[in-house]
Amino acid sequence: MTAFRAMLRRELRLALRGGGDVLTLVLFFVIVGAIVPFAVGPDRALLARIAPGIVWISAFLAMLLGLDRLFRPDHEDGSLILLRHAHLPLSATIAAKLIAHWLVAALPLIVASPFLAMLLAMDEPTFWRMLVSLLVGTPALAAFGAVGAAVTVAIRRGGLIAPILIAPLSIPVLIFGTGSITAPQSAAAMLFLAALSLMAVALAPFAAALAISSAED
């Protein structure tokens, strides 16, 4: 457990001191959301209707953008090999990385989401539902992302291929994520979203560990 906590601390420290990655992601999230009105027109009624979808797409894209940070630096400087042979199982290491990744790549987006909600003319009940659905759903996105990053870590330009692998797998998250905000059966969608998140977070560390150890030997 000490090793797990040390790993978590290391990841957080690296992310926070490593030159503004967190702020860049938040900026990307807000800018993607803010760019939509320029494409579809500043009609407030239309924007309010599609706002949940825009927020989810922005979060999805921002989290894809942050994926390369997850394993690639460790792979390049060789510490991933050391972590593989460490006393702490690789799956536990990846679980720590996953938690850290969610804290630095998803939580700031959720904190910034009120700003986007205001820009997109979202009303207050929708806003609260969106906040809960982002909190419940982003762990699943982070978990799928970790698997995609692990699969592509051995490829030199894997940053390009990981998104096209992850996007189809993330479709259920987007469906239930936006469904839990707008659909008539939003409570059911929220439960499905939570189930998906729990399952993905539980299984992703093992799948990612398997992919990394297959790629390294």
Binding site: I155, I161, P168, I171, P172, G179, A189
Partner: protein, 253 residues
Amino acid sequence: MSIDTTSKQSWWSRIAHPGQFVIWTKPLLWPLTILTALLFVGGLYFAFFNSPADYQMGDTVRIMYVHVPNAWLSQFVYGVMAVSALGTLVWRHPMADVSMKAAAPLGALFTALALFTGSLWGRPTWGTFWEWDGRMTSTLVLLFIYLGIVALWRAFDDQLRAARVIAVFTLIGAVNIPIIKFSVDWWSTLHQPASVFRADGPKMPGSILTPLFVMFFAFTFLFLTLQLKAMHTEVKRRRVMTLQRRAAQGESA
């Protein structure tokens, strides 16, 4: 006196050697090709000349004889890939790698054909090429997964290492496909419910069912033939790459 140990090997481990695999399965290729061709001739004859036009859809119902087998193969090929992935990860069977790699583009092709014929059929019957309903959408997502796997194969330099990583991803996809299917169904339901395989027997008349089943087997055998040929090609491609590498090493030495 030499002891013959080779005869004690099972066929399973014998075909693990790529060269042996090619030698053992090469005689299968021609009979499979001929069988496929015969099935296609028979199936197409039934489909075009010996089956009735639908009283509602008219002659466009004949698209079904191409569409349904492709849609079946789009899922069957993923099954083949998932089983091969297990073979790679669990038994480390060398031919499982090759089978997995050969199946990916074929699966993508059959899925694309299922979508293409489906939209050609949808235009006259539903009045639209594309409709965001459950089945079409999940088939589209399946196509994206296939294309992602093909892209992943192409991105790796070392094909042996690629096989194990892609096997992991293929199995993750296999777990995910039912979830995607369920979520997409939840998202939208418009497609007609399943009408061939039902608990109370097929809902179609025999005159339509016969050509459908013949075409079904024709396409399945087409896949088996192409899969075998693609596996042979892959074995040869790897041999060429090994020879090239050895030649390059010889030059530098």
